[in-house]
Amino acid sequence: MTTQTNFEQVQTELTGIFREVFDDPQLALRDDMTAADVEGWDSLSQITLIVSIERSFHIKLTLGEIQRLNNVRALIDLIHKKVQSR
């Protein structure tokens, strides 16, 4: 992934990660999506998701950043910011 990664690229790659972690090939991300909208998205699978994101985008996320996330859009914004400042 290039340093000039845009939101669309982040969203596309993130969709692939979500599909793999939650074992759902049809899953489509929406900006306002939360854990309540995805079957199997609980506290434990969330960490699996974070680990996959960190490995895939070569970034490190902190506990405070995770705690402040309130939907998928906030997650995409955070990943985008981290990738840009890498």
Partner: protein
Amino acid sequence: VSFTSVEYLFFLLVAIAVCSSIPRRLQPLSILLLSCAFYAFWDVRALIPLGGAVLLAYGSALGIEKAGREGVRKGLAFGSVTLLVATLLLLKDLPKSSRPSDWLVPLGISYYTFKLVSYVLDVFWGKQRAERDLIALASYALFFPQIVAGPIQRSADYLIQVRTPEPLSRARLMRGTGRLALGLFKKLVIADHIGITLNAVYGQVHAYSGAPLLCAFYLFPIQLYADFSGLTDIAIGSALMLGIESPENFDHPFSATNISEYWRRWHMSLTTWTVDYVLTPLRMATRNWNRIGLVFSIFANMMTIALWHGIAWTYFSFGLVHSAFVSVDALTLKTRKTFFRANPAWKAWAGWGGSILTFHLVAFGMVFWRAKTVSDAFWILRHMWVPLGALTSDVAQLVLSGAWHSLVIGMAAYTLLELAEKCRLKMPVIHDLQASARWLRWSVYAVSSLALVVGLLLMFIHGSVREPFLYEVF
């Protein structure tokens, strides 16, 4: 003041009258003063350690927000959280004989400590601003409907409501009264009736074998559910009439098809608390340790839930048993998913079978939770198995002893409750009572009023021999 006493209902009526007649901006102050008055019934001196905890959380949250350096922020957050938790552990688990005074262990210490810890950490993580209004924060920690046994509400959720209270409408009053009546019904009709037999069995387990122990094994989860969710219903109903929507604590826990789902449906305000402040931070810290990190985090989380009840080998065993159950569930999740995808015919059976298995795992864990000692728990588990013939004679003995009356009343009431709940879920119209047909609305009002009258009558009748709530002691 017990939630099932007439004095409490009188106190609540006064509180509702005060809160609905004062200006909105004075709502935090009035709730604080009412909560102090409620507390004073128990022991006014207990307000000293409680006030100290509030001031510590208030000051450290403001400090965290003002501090520029990350080190100072971390020091303030972890310093104050350590102090709050250490005070809880020291005071609560000090043997009664070594306590200088009972008031040093304030009523609801486990609940307000967890509320204040979550407040400090939420400010530290930037999830909410530090509260400037000390009165509002103190009213959050002391809020009297929630101080006895929760639910453990988050500060942001409470503070926004206490600042902008809605006027008390008839709909809110009816919802609150209905919830309170439901709580009284669960406690006085279900829990206390089942409890008569079970308390006798758990009081002297070595005197029993066979059917009474089997009864204790299968019925204690129902007694605890009716007792604790009844207490929560009274708390939620009372808070609702004072303008505060509380979080739910139970969501049909015995319908869970696996043990992890059960923990998402049982004592939810505590389990979501431990997920946010214990499990997630530990999982993040150990995320690259693979399965060991997962099992370690689950163990720490379940132990926090278990030992929050008190430091005792019975609670430790309860935590250990559930750590094992939840770990196996988490480690086999992927395999089960793959199996059910390949064998869809098994999926329907997994629902029923899963619920039955989960109930047995829960009942097994609760034996350790309820027994006086670990050896008592093992006695129950070893001696409840008897041949069918002996079981029939045991049941006959139980019937002859007269103890079956209360069990039948309790279990019939529980069955009624479950049937009513099934109807409620299948009839979405009742979710919006105000918009429903007049006959239906008034039927609900009539049933609620009847339950309240029955509850009140039972409160008067059993006033002198009141059974305390199982969760009041935490």
